[in-house]
């Protein structure tokens, strides 16, 4: 992804782009809160600079920030993202349960988050899983399957 950008700049560039998109959304929205867009740009720029600086450190976090992670660091990143997704799903389930209990109108965003995490999990199983129930013994599977951490 983004091979034309030097590895150390990729994540900071992504953060800057996300900040710019968020700021643009506030500008398009208009109204008295237009100044939020300026704050968003400043915060995104500061975050991008801090990620760039972190990318120069000789740590796992630095390697991930600079997009130069090796297989173990990719695995650490994957496990961390899986943990974040699990926490998100649990929090969404709690939120949905509470929203239903108090008859709140804001129950549906929790359901959407739960549905997305569930769909993402199933998508992951179908993409990375090796379940081929109909395959014969010694069937030629074509390309050898690789660990997702090395994709």
């Amino acid at each position: 992804m983004m091979p034309f950008i030097p590895p150390r700049l990729r994540k900071p560039a992504g953060i800057a782009l996300a900040g710019a998109a968020f700021a643009a959304a506030w500008l398009v929205r208009g109204g008295p809160l237009w100044w939020v867009s300026i704050s968003a740009v400043i915060l995104a720029a500061a975050r991008a600079v801090s990620w760039y600086r972190m990318g120069g450190e000789d740590t796992d976090e630095g390697a991930l920030a600079a997009s130069r992670a090796d297989e173990r660091q990719h695995l650490v990143s994957l496990q961390s993202r899986a943990l974040a997704c699990n926490l998100t799903a649990v929090a969404a389930f709690i939120g949905l349960t509470v929203a239903i209990a108090v008859k709140a109108a804001w129950w549906w965003p929790f359901l959407v988050i739960l549905a997305i995490t569930g769909f993402g999990y199933l998508l992951g199983l179908s993409s990375y899983g090796s379940g081929e129930p109909d395959a014969d013994d010694d069937a030629d599977a074509g390309q050898p399957e690789r660990s997702p951490v090395q994709r």
Partner: protein
């Protein structure tokens, strides 16, 4: 799983950073492998074994539950 990475590295007078550079991984990964906290992938295990002119089964001993050296 016991491995001989630290033993082989020190025999050759290499630092962890030098070995990491030779293997194309981070210094932290070499530390993790040496301490037994991380089991390398098969390709990396072969790379390590070839670097030290050993076979994978000489480099990594699955029968020893003791981590590291």
């Amino acid at each position: 799983m016991r491995n001989r990475v630290r033993e082989q590295r020190t025999q050759r007078g290499l630092s962890q950073a030098e070995l990491a550079a030779a293997l194309g991984v981070s210094r932290q990964t070499v530390i993790s492998i040496e301490s037994g906290r991380y089991l390398p992938s098969l390709p990396l295990a072969f790379t390590i074994a070839r670097f030290f002119d050993l076979t994978v089964d000489k480099m990594f001993d699955p029968d020893d539950e003791e981590a590291g050296t």
